[in-house]
Symmetry: D2
Subunit: 382 residues, 4 copies
C-alpha cells in the first residue's frame, strides 16, 4: 500500500491500560497508520505522560474526547479515524462525538453498556455513512477466515451443531477487591453494563459463530452465575442457542474456570463434516470430513485458501498470534479508509465487524440476562 | 487371587453383537472368571454356534434366559454371576429372573428401558441382597479414579463448574435404514426406551461426573433433537445441570457429531484448580492448579495415587485402554464375589456402579425427555 | 476360531516378574490359548506358588526348563508352544531345549545375549522347521500395520529419512544399587549381553523401522554412553543408520531421559509424504502428504486399511493399548499354529517377527558396540 | 522508553524478499525504530519502488551499500544502526562497510559464507567496539528464555542429553529449478557458502542449544545428504555432538522432510528433569521433573519467570508468535543502543546473539562439512 499512512487518534489506553496498547501494535504492525492524537486518560497527567511516550505532539494530546473530536475535525490534517478503548459505558458518548465530527470509528467490544445506546449508535452510524468497526478481533485470525470459507463452500453441508466456549480464570478469586483495575470496571454494572463474562468474552464467541457459519442465532436460554463473592454480574454463563436454520448451539463463557487462560474454542458440526478452532493455538484448523481421515490445516500451508492467505504474513510453521490477528482487522479497515479517500467503498465484500454485529452482541447480552432472570426460559433474539 | 475362578454366564452377546465380546474380554483379562453357560441369542442356531465358539458345553447353552436361570440355579456348580448384554428393554426381565434364582448380576447400561422397571429393579436387588453391578465402564479407567481421589482430597476446592460431553458420529447418517443392527435397536423406542443418545451415551457422562465429583445432580434442563430423518428418539442433546452444592453443569451428548469417534470428555473446575480427562487418550489426567503450572499426570506415573495404581497393570507410557478399563470393573466385581463366598462383603468401600446409580441414570433420561417436551424447563431429579 | 485352544507353556515369569504377565494376558485376551505348564522360576517355591496362582496343575509345574521340555514332549497332550520370558542370556539354552523337543517357541527380545548364540539359534530353527516368534511386540499395533501398508502402497514414495527414538527414564538414577530386580539384570553384561539400552529398547525401534519401511539397514555408527554411575553397559545411545535404498536414519535410545516414560516414536519421510507414530498414543497415525493438509488416521476409523482392521477389536475412539498390541502377535501366532495342526502353513504372508529378525537385532547391538569402541566409525550390518 | 526512536537503515529486503519484511515488522512492533534509509535492492528501480512503499525519502534510498554507509555516516542525523538482510555471501562486505563507518550492525544469520570472513568480522567488531547483533531470532522467544533461566537455576541438574531438530519440507522438490528466488540462492554455494540446510536452519538449532544450556559444543560428527537432484549443498543433515560437560547431542536439520513446516524443537535432559520447546507452538514449555508429574508452563502464566516476562506483551492464552519473538531481539538491541547513546553499556548482561555466536555457527557449518567429507569422523569445534 503506497498511500500515505492513515492519521489515527485514540481515546483511552493510557499507561496501565491493556487493550489500548494492543490496538496501537495492531495499527503499527503493517505500517498503515500513524498515531497523531489522543485523549489517552481522564487523568490529565497520565494522559500527557502517555502521549509523550507515544510520540504524540503536546498540542494533540487532549484532556477529553469532546475537545479532541472538535479540534481534530477542524484541522486540515486532523485524524481520519479514532480508536475507542475505554470501559464499555463510555463507548457510546465517545463514538457519538466522533461520528458527529465526521470521523471514522474503531470501537472495542461490547458495543455499548446498554441495548438502548447500541440501537441509538446504529442510527448514528447509518446517518453518518462513516466507517464504524467493532473489534471482534478473533474474526481476524487467518484460520477463522479459512473456516468461514469452507463452510460457505459447503464443505460441512448443512450445519447442525455449534459448540462454543470462552473460558478464563483471571476472576477465579476476587481480585477486584485488591484494586486490580482491569477487573474493577468489568464487575461494575455502571461501567460494564448488564453483562459480566457474557459481555466481556461471551460476545466474542457468539460473534465468531455467526461470522464463521453465516447463520444468525434466533433464540437463547441462559443460566448465569456469580461465583465471585459480592459480584452482581455473571462470571460464568451456560447458554443454549437456536440458529436460523435449525442448528442448535451451546455456549460456555467463564472467567472463573480455574486453569483456563484464554480458552476460546469454536466447533461446528455439519452433515458432512466438522471444524474445530482454538484460539490458544490459532494457526491450525481441525477438519473432520465424515467418513474420512481427520485433517489439520495450517495457516500458510498447502490447504489454506484465499481468505486465510490474504491475512498471512509469514510462512507456515512460523506462528502468527493474537496481535497479528488483531492487526488484520486494522489492515482491512485501512484498506476501506483508503478506498473511501478515493470515494470508493469496498463494503460490499467487507468482513469487518460492523455496528450491526455490535448490536447483535448487545442483544445477546440483554436476552441472556432476561432469560436467566426468568429462570432460564427461551428468549427471541429478533 | 488364588481363589477358584468365578463361574460366569451370559445372556445376549451372540455372534454379530458388539458389547458381549467386550464383557467377555473384560472377564478373561485378569483370569478371574470362566464363562460356562449362556443364552447368547434368541435365535437358537446362532446361540448354539456362539456357545460352541466360546467353548461353552452344549448342555449349558440355553434357548432362553428363563430356562438358564432355573437350571443354573439348580446345579451345584451353576453360575455365580450372569452378565446381561441385550438391548435395554430386556435388562429388567432377565435381571429379575436371575436375581430370583439367587444369582449375582452384571448388567449393561442404561439400567432398563423405563423408569418404572428401574424402580422395580432397585426393590428386587435390595430384597435379594445379591450383588448387582451396572457397567458404567468409564469409571473403571485408572485416571478417572485418580480424578475422584484428587477431588475427594480437596485438590480442587469446592466444585463450581462441570463440563461434560460425549460425542460420536456413527448415526450422522441414517444407517438404521440400511439395517445396521446396532443402530436399529438404539433408535427404536420399544427396545431402547425413551432416550436415544441420552440413554446410550449421555448416561455415561452423567454418571462419570457424579462418580468423579461425589456430587449429585439436583435439576436438569434439556434441549433434544433428532437430526436423523425419521428418528423419534434424540440423537443430539444439549443439557444444563444444577448440582447439590451449587455447582453448574453442561452436558452435550451427540451421535451425529461428524468427525467424533468416542469423544467422552469430563472437565471439572473448582475454586482451587481443575481437572480434564478425555476417554480417547485415557492414560493422562490434566490438572491445572490455580496460579501454578498445568500438570499432566500419567497412569502408572510418579504422581498417580492409590486408586489409580490399584487398577494399573503395566508401566507408565505403555497405554492401557478401553478393554482394560472395562476389565477393572470385572476385577472389582470378582473381588466382591469372592469376599461373599467367604461371607464377607466389601461393599462399604465399593466403587462398583450399583443399581442405585443405574436408577439415577434412568431418572436423568426420564427428566431430560420431560424437560424437552415442556420446552426446556428445569426438572427436579430428586 | 472354533479350533481347540492351544496348549501353552511358559519359562520364566514367576511372581515379581513383569513381562511374563504381559505374555499371559496377551495369550488370554482372545481366548486362543490355555496355559497348562510352566517352569516359572528358578526358585522352586516361587515356581510352585506362581503355578498355583495361575491354575497350572502341580505335576506340570517344573523345577527347570530342561525337565519341562522333555516331559511335555513326551505327553500326548503336552504343550504345543512355549513362551520364554527370562533374562536374555537364558533365551538360547531354553529355546534350544524346546526346539529339540519339537515344540514351537515364542521368545522375548532381544533374541539372545550374544551374536554367536543368535546365529546358532537361526540354524536350530531352520533345521527344526518349527515356528519361532520373537516378540517385537510393537509391530502388533494396528496403526503400525497401517503405516507398513501405506508405505508398501507407495503413499510416501521413495523413503529418504528415518527418525527413531525410544526414550525412558527409569534408569535415570542407579536403582539397580537398591536391588530393583528388573534393573539389576539389565545392567549386568552377564545376563543382558553386550547391549544395555540398545538391546533392551533400541532393538525395538530398529526392528520397527525395518518392519514399517520394508528397508534393511546396511551400516551403523554409534555413540554410546553410560551415565549411570558404575554402569558398564550403555544407558544412552546416539546412532546413525544407512538403509539399503540410500535412506538415512537416526536412532536415539535412552533409559536415562528424565521425564520420558515409554517414548517410542517412529517417523518416516519419503519423497511424497511422511508418517509419524508414537507408542504412547498408539491409536493414531499422523500422515502428512507433501503439498496437502496433514491427516490423522485412527484405528478403527474410516481411513484404516485391511492390515490395521484385521487387528482391531473395538470401534474407533475406544482406545486399544499395549496389551492388545501384544495380543495381536499371539493371535497371529495362534493362527499359524492352528494352520500347522492341519499341515498348512501361512508363513508366506506372515508378519510375525522371526528368528531372522531376532538375529538382525543382535547384529544391530553387536555392531553398535563395535562402532562405539572404535570411536564412532561406520560398521557394515551385512 | 521515552527516548527518541532509533534511526534504522536496511540493506537488502526489497520487494519480493522475505526476511527483510520480518526485520521491519520486528523493528516497528514496539515503536523503538524508524526506518529512514536503505539500499533495498541491487536492482535500482526495485530499490526505489521499495523505498517509496516504505516511506523512505528519495535521497536516502541508495543504489548500493557502500554509498549508503558513507553518506549516512556523514549526516548529522544519519542512521544509528543498519540491518543486513541479504544472501549470506554479502553479509561480510556490507557489515565491514558499516562498521568502518561507525554504524551499529544487525546481521541475519549465518554470519558469513566462509569461516575466514567470519573470523575477520570478529576482529572488525572487536576493534570497532560497535554493537553487532546476529539475528538468531529463536532465542527471543519468551519460553526459550524461560528454559534458559530454569537450566541456569539448576532445575534440571547436570545436563546429559541434547536433542535438536529443525525440519522443513520446502526443498522436498527441486523448486530452485523453477526459479524460486529464496531457494535459488540457498542451494548455490557461491551465495550460501559451504552449508545448505546446516547453515540455513541447522545453525539456529545449534545456537539455541548453547543459548539455553549455557554449554559449548566441543566436537561434531556429521552425515550430510543432498536428496534434491543436482544439489551440491546438503539438504538433510544428521549430526552428533559432544558438549563441554560430557553431555551428548543429536541434531537433525532437513529441508526435505515432507510434511514439516518449521519444525524446530529443542529437548534438554538433565539428571533431575527435562525441558521441551517447539517453535510451532512456542507459548508453552514442557517441563518434566524426574519423579513428579509433567508440567506445561505458559508464556505469561503463573510459573513464568523474569526472563520470559520481560519479553511478554500480552496475557497468557493470547499467543505471541514468530514476529514477536523476532521483535524481542530488536527490543533488546534498542535498549543497548539507547544505553550507548548515554555512554552506558548493558552488555554485561546482554543475551543478544553476538558476532562470537555468529562465528560459532560458522564453525559448526565448517566442521560439519569436513566431518562428512572424511566419512563422518569426529571434528573438534575449538
Amino acid at each position: 500500500m503506497t498511500a500515505a499512512r492513515i492519521r489515527l487518534g485514540m481515546v483511552g489506553g493510557g499507561q496501565g491500560a491493556f487493550i489500548g496498547e494492543v490496538h496501537r501494535i495492531a495499527a503499527r504492525l503493517d505500517n498503515h497508520y500513524e498515531l497523531v492524537a489522543g485523549a489517552l486518560s481522564s487523568d490529565a497527567s497520565r494522559a500527557a505522560a502517555s502521549a509523550e511516550e507515544l510520540g504524540i505532539a503536546v498540542n494533540r494530546s487532549y484532556a477529553n474526547y469532546a475537545e479532541m473530536a472538535k479540534k481534530e475535525a477542524a484541522k486540515k490534517d486532523g485524524i481520519e479515524v479514532v480508536s475507542i478503548v475505554t470501559p464499555n459505558h463510555l463507548h457510546f458518548p465517545i463514538a457519538k462525538a466522533f461520528l458527529e465530527a465526521g470521523i471514522h470509528v474503531i470501537c472495542d467490544k461490547p458495543l455499548t453498556s446498554s441495548i438502548e445506546d447500541a440501537e441509538a449508535l446504529v442510527s448514528l452510524v447509518e446517518e453518518s455513512q462513516l466507517l464504524f468497526a467493532v473489534t471482534y478481533n478473533y474474526s481476524g485470525y487467518p484460520m477463522v477466515r479459512q473456516a468461514r470459507e469452507m463452510i460457505k463452500n459447503g464443505d460441512l453441508g448443512a450445519i447442525r451443531i455449534v459448540q462454543l466456549e470462552y473460558a478464563q480464570d483471571w476472576l477465579a478469586t476476587n481480585i477486584e477487591a485488591g484494586g486490580q483495575k482491569q477487573a474493577a470496571w468489568r464487575v461494575d454494572p455502571n461501567q460494564a453494563g448488564s453483562g459480566g463474562s457474557i459481555g466481556d468474552i461471551g460476545t466474542h464467541a457468539y460473534h465468531l459463530a455467526e461470522f464463521v457459519t453465516g447463520l444468525e442465532a434466533k433464540s437463547i436460554l441462559a443460566d448465569l452465575d456469580s461465583f465471585g463473592e459480592g459480584r452482581s454480574l455473571d462470571d460464568n454463563a451456560h447458554i443454549l442457542l437456536h440458529y436460523s436454520n435449525g442448528a442448535k448451539g451451546m455456549l460456555w463463557a467463564s472467567q472463573i474456570a480455574s486453569g483456563k487462560e484464554n480458552g476460546l474454542r469454536v466447533r461446528i458440526f455439519g452433515e458432512k463434516g466438522s471444524l474445530e478452532w482454538a484460539q490458544e493455538n490459532p494457526n491450525y484448523l481441525h477438519y473432520s470430513p465424515l467418513g474420512a481421515a481427520a485433517q489439520i490445516l495450517s495457516r500458510g500451508g498447502a490447504a489454506a485458501g484465499d481468505g486465510a492467505n490474504a491475512l498471512t504474513r509469514i510462512p507456515a510453521g512460523h506462528p502468527e498470534g493474537y496481535l497479528e490477528g488483531f492487526a488484520n482487522l486494522y489492515k482491512e479497515i485501512a484498506a476501506e479508509i483508503i478506498a473511501r479517500r478515493r470515494n470508493e467503498t469496498i463494503t460490499s465484500t467487507s468482513l469487518i465487524p460492523s455496528v450491526h454485529d455490535g448490536l447483535r452482541g448487545m442483544r445477546f447480552v440483554d436476552k441472556a440476562v432476561s432469560s436467566n432472570r426468568a429462570g432460564s426460559v427461551w428468549q427471541s433474539l429478533d
